[in-house]
Subunit: 459 residues, 2 copies
Amino acid sequence: MSLDAVLQTLDDTQDAAIERLFELLRIPSVSTDPAHKEDSLRAAHWVAATLRELGAEADVRPTPGQPMVVGHAPGDASKPHLLFYGHYDVQPVDPLSLWKRDPFDPAVEDTANGKVIRARGANDDKGQFMTFLEACRAWKAVHGALPCRLSFFFEGEEESGSPSLVPFMQDNAAELTADIALISDTSMFDANTPAITTMLRGLLGEELTITGPSRDLHSGSYGGAVMNPARMLARIIAGLHDETGRITVPGFYDGVDDLSDALRGQWDALGFDADAFLGEVGLSQPAGETGRTALEMVWARPTCEVNGIWSGYTGDGFKTVLPSTASAKISFRLVGAQDPVAIRKAFRSYVQQSLPPDCTVSFKDHGCSGASVMSTENPLFEKARLALSDEWPHPAAFIGAGGSIPIAGHFKEILGMDAMLVGFGQDDDGLHSPNEKYDLRSFQKGARSWARILDALSG
Amino acid sequence: MSLDAVLQTLDDTQDAAIERLFELLRIPSVSTDPAHKEDSLRAAHWVAATLRELGAEADVRPTPGQPMVVGHAPGDASKPHLLFYGHYDVQPVDPLSLWKRDPFDPAVEDTANGKVIRARGANDDKGQFMTFLEACRAWKAVHGALPCRLSFFFEGEEESGSPSLVPFMQDNAAELTADIALISDTSMFDANTPAITTMLRGLLGEELTITGPSRDLHSGSYGGAVMNPARMLARIIAGLHDETGRITVPGFYDGVDDLSDALRGQWDALGFDADAFLGEVGLSQPAGETGRTALEMVWARPTCEVNGIWSGYTGDGFKTVLPSTASAKISFRLVGAQDPVAIRKAFRSYVQQSLPPDCTVSFKDHGCSGASVMSTENPLFEKARLALSDEWPHPAAFIGAGGSIPIAGHFKEILGMDAMLVGFGQDDDGLHSPNEKYDLRSFQKGARSWARILDALSG
């Protein structure tokens, strides 16, 4: 029972595994912030060194942005060739004042729901991808080598739009192609139900700045006669949704299909608790399109969200300024066959047409990707689902997810291979929020789960 | 011709006068920012020391906020007793990056329109009130004493809502009462037409924070099902104006009268150039209520402006956060008999009623004051108007102003005395903006103007 020995090794080396994860979590690899460029490089080298410990040849490859890490471990040519993808960058930490501890000083904390690892990146994606690397490490410790041919591919720009990813994949397509890609950047259905995510929303990021008067003005000397760009921006944002919660950008819903009865039936059977989902974040009512369930809104409906807005004086006290500019960061989550390029164009046209003659607007493109729908025809999916089911109290499910992992689509489009998303996050992990955490149980049973999946896929 | 000697002295001591103003401008007395508390105290002591040089007994009086400065110089009991008011605090300087020089390192600069004094406070109010103090200094140099009994009253919280002002005036009413108050914190009608401002708008400052989910969320994991407070704030702000530019808060226009035909005639005769006024700030169209002239919008109509708005991630790059809170600073300019207390209540009620069940709102009160309309029946007004007309190319006018100087109303309500507002600012001085300036001509001819007014009022 070689799998049992690997699982036993994982159980016996938990403290060392946590210390390895903490080493990585201490590196503040915030990709969107140029001040952390050196930290990103440090994280990349840390990952490459770890891959070498697993028996892979690995190196750090420069890009115009943050570097890639690529590694290859040899294996039996008769077994599937697997490629594992992860990202070593993390989200910014602001507002820092809301963190209960230094986000880059990780610790295991006791909570009402058990022990958690607390740090920026504890889940997304450092904690998640380390479950896979720890499974590999234990496998190698028991067997002296990995179970099959394995390639590794890490980027450091996932949290900032992945500008270097597609060119790098295109330039290195042959090297990066395997039989299937494995990704650990998603959540379980609930704490006892593991999941393989087979539907992911796309993402379109826009930034706009509206300019009214050519400089900041005194709101007494000019107020009333001069267009306030913050008021105009508010009007534009308010106009993006109608009274039923539908998005008003012309053509936005082209390519959005209603759920099939079959899929709706599967999802209904999951017994998703919308009240608990909303209640956990202090809310009681789904806020999206009328007539849709909360689960459908998050997994299968497109959105438009304000991710940031700023104008005028935002410090303490009061300043009677009539601002010259007002800006917002706005993102759209996309589903089905929605075309991000067409939607960006329609959005910009909507904004332009909403402006009075005296206001101007400039846009910044923060990347885009369409939605991904995985094919579960590939028999490796069912093997993995059964392996996952062996580890957890409830059987594993094929589910949707509201987030966007554009790489899944890129693997299909650029490299022609399926991607399988298996992650151990929980809804309350606080991804992208202060006090991000990863359940210690997710980290430890996640590594055991990957050992089981490696065994199943290479068996 | 004793007035001529005073004017000659002002002309002969211009360099020393500029150096005195620069000393004051170098003190960063930003009242709204607690970090500058010591600077405010320093500015107060600087003003008190200057008053003593003019022959006044003067001292710095503590308040719960920034201190007051009060001074008294004796004079002939048969002549009017004048009280001069000014404020030694200044606006914040952000965005600092837009300043062409350190805002607290004043200099005289050559520009296409002549020499200007560049610094935060160059106009508002340090440069303005120093025109009066320099006139007093020259008068004393020529005559050995001031022309009449003069009291001085300076506050240091004018740019942050004047929280200590009314209690201080109530507690010291007898000491602060004179025959008339003089204030230099307003503008000329244009570069060649001096003005006495007889209509001022009131001001009501509000800050609101809308809370949706109890913490920042990942816009993928929650987007669609959860109310975004930035979207809600945008809807509330967008709803504050209707399509004709009128403000929708119920009862807002109670107490707002249309211009009398007489006043409209006087203002029409001024030949205000709305195209130039808007063109100077890069605009071409009045943005307020349809059917009103730009001058009417600024002098005689109430407004609602967003002075600041913030939510979510506002740094470089992109962060797919669904924010927990969204905030705005909003101010209303008030005219006629509008009741600030009733309007604050109606505004808060409008916001509360606009919120969906899951959102909450908190408010912060940033002070309020009603509009002021001065009585020009007092014969001192006409004496001052004629004196001003002697100094400048065009005769002086009685005008309105869009800004708010609550002290004018307080003098009337608390102390029962009229206030006369005579200032030498220009529309392009950049009050509350980066690169604030004061024309050197305003500073020098302003001091000469006050010498003439002192002569006329005490003659």
